[in-house]
Amino acid sequence: MAKKTYIKAITDALDIVLDEDPKTLIFGEDVGKNGGVFRTTQGLQDKYGEDRVFDTPLAESGILGLATGLGVTGWRPIPEIQFMGFSFEAIDQIAGQEARMRFRFDGKQHSPVTIRTPYGGGTHTAEMHADNLENFFTGVPGLRVVMPSNPYDAKGLLISSVESNDPVLFMENLKLYRSMKDDIPEGKYTVPLDQANVVQEGTDLTIVAYGAEVNEAKKVADKLKDKASIEVIDLRTVSPIDTDTIFKSIEKTHKVVIVQEAQKMAGVGAQVASAIAEDAILSLDAPIGRVAAPNSVYPFAQGEDYWIPGADEIEEKVNEILNY
């Protein structure tokens, strides 16, 4: 075990999949010599050579088209989109092409792509660098969307994503990159896709969160521990959503608050709320609580500090639902 940052956990995972599977390829803007703008691919080109880890021209649709084509010729591509906002340039290759390959050919051809991309607010980046865009991509059939909330999960989920023959959009939280350290086992381990994690058990209220908000939720659960026993669920994979774990939890707690960093409209939280409303509403004895960002355009850097919902907003909503 060694204390490692979220970034190092990802580098570890990439090192392992490059070593284990000679068909894996890492490519994108500045991922080679420079080791990525956040150094997530640091040292990998030196270790595995330019045939396996390489820089591409600056064009996101081109990068993901390259991935689709490499996938159908027997390779296992792990392209990087430097910042998630740039994925708008590649919507067709993600939603129109990669996610449909297996369906189109009934499995006779497929393209096992894992797209890595950093997202998320709180680091005061330039515009289009921090937006939480999972709401877009969770609406794409044929694509899994994975959002680890900590370094341990990041490593284990990334290995599972690469090993999956289905395409995965792997979203790495920018703020957590260097702000969080975990004890990470050396060598290979996996964290399963499609499964949520009960990160803290409780009996009075369930908080469902993912990404950086899991840590905010834990803060609230800790702060209120003398007043209420709060269960915290980390979705880990946001498409599909592990509803079984959520339903099991609310059967016990009868109260739920759903937390997301993204805008409230048409997203992961809405999907969780709808699943509960459809299949588990009778478990609840209070309305579903939601904490999400306002439905404005993502703010410029200075606005992030008070726009992104954090522990205060969660605490307020949790108290409201507890006191219902």
Partner: protein, 366 residues
């Protein structure tokens, strides 16, 4: 005119329009204009080329008939483009990977898909995409195939295969950003890809001269460092010879090539309601009919005593009989099930989809 002493933009612009003549072996009067190239073909070769074009036109005519009878789905007519399509695809080898656009179904069949599969694709049935050929399904998103061709070509190269990626788009397709990105990636990585632009004059109704100020579409490859050439797309001998030369050049490790074929779509954009009389006149179309690729080669063959009307008629009958068998086979394929659509979305279905699959399977077994 604004003049500058340091740079003459007018002269630079004029230079852009100074294009070499498109490559041609047989001119529109069936006169051999490149004897050496022409003599490299045997009589059998010439007959084979003719047969392929007769096959493609028969396929078009029969498919249009089926379409009028309501027996087809989406169909993009190919009449007029036989030399461009057959000439280029005949340079492909079985191990090559084809990335066609929706008007390139004849090439997909040449590369190994069956006519039945092509008809099923047209109707929108997944069995139409389960061909043995090494190929993507006909691409609907214009430009996407160019991006993917760069990836396929890189994959083939990394596999150490003696194979290349062949991809097609049209004149409209060259306006898509993805076309530039795909060619630029292929050039940057020097991967074995052949980009073919079938310039048939129109993107649905928008004429070629409204797509771009570039004097040729072949020039669009130049900025990616890719050698490119215009070829008479109504001359199958030239189309084949240039595509074959391109493949040889690419296989030798020289990186990608782009070919622009100058051709024409006689019919509508698609069989789904496009009316070409809204955007072009018979006067516009007539000169292209005079360049017809079948008439052009037929005359050469007749002069050599290698071809007759009777022979052609009997071939057309023979081909059409196979198309009629193919549509019967397509008719016999059972409709797709929703449970199967769910199953093929992922290799490992999500928990929620498993429940959906069960639900539909129960419904479907009733």
């Amino acid at each position: 005119m604004a003049q500058s002493s340091v740079v003459d933009f007018d002269a630079i612009k004029k230079n852009l329009a100074d294009l070499p003549k498109p490559i041609q072996i047989l001119d529109e009067n069936s006169k051999v204009v490149d004897k050496e190239a022409f003599d490299s073909f045997s009589d059998d070769d010439l007959v084979e080329f003719m047969k392929k074009m007769v096959w493609e036109r028969a396929l078009h005519e029969q498919t249009m008939n089926f379409s009028r009878q309501g027996r087809m789905g989406f169909y993009a007519p190919t009449e007029g483009e036989e030399a461009s399509e057959m000439g280029t695809v005949l340079a492909m080898k079985k191990q090559d990977y084809l990335l066609p656009a929706y008007r390139d179904v004849p090439q997909l069949i040449q590369h190994g898909a069956t006519v039945t599969e092509a008809y099923l694709w047209s109707r929108g049935h997944v069995v139409g995409n389960k061909y043995e050929a090494r190929a993507m399904m006909p691409q609907i998103i214009i430009g996407a195939a160019y991006d993917e061709a760069a990836g396929v070509a890189m994959g083939l190269k990394k596999n150490g295969e003696e194979a290349i990626a062949f991809t097609y788009t049209g004149d409209g397709g060259t306006s898509q950003g993805d076309s530039y990105e795909g060619m630029n990636f292929a050039g940057a990585f020097q991967v074995p890809a052949l980009f073919i632009v079938q310039n048939n004059g129109f993107a649905i109704s928008t004429p070629r001269n409204k797509q771009t100020a570039a004097p040729s579409l072949a020039q669009k490859a130049v900025a990616a460092g890719i050698p490119s050439v215009q070829v008479d797309g109504m001359d199958i001998l030239a189309c084949y010879k240039v595509a074959k030369a391109a493949r040889d050049y690419i296989i030798a490790g020289n990186g990608p090539v782009m070919i622009e074929t100058l051709t024409y779509r006689y019919g509508a954009h698609s069989s789904a309601g496009d009316d070409p009389s809204r955007y072009r006149t018979e006067e516009d179309t007539k000169p292209w009919h005079e360049k017809d690729p079948l008439i052009r080669l037929r005359k050469v063959l007749e002069d050599k005593g290698l071809w007759s009307d009777e022979q052609e008629d009997s071939l057309v009958d023979e081909y059409k009989a196979t198309f009629k068998d193919a549509i019967k086979e397509a008719d016999a394929v059972p409709v797709d099930k929703v449970s199967d659509m769910l199953k093929r979305t992922f290799e490992i279905p999500t928990p929620e989809m498993r429940k959906e699959i069960e639900k539909f399977e129960a419904k479907e077994s009733n």
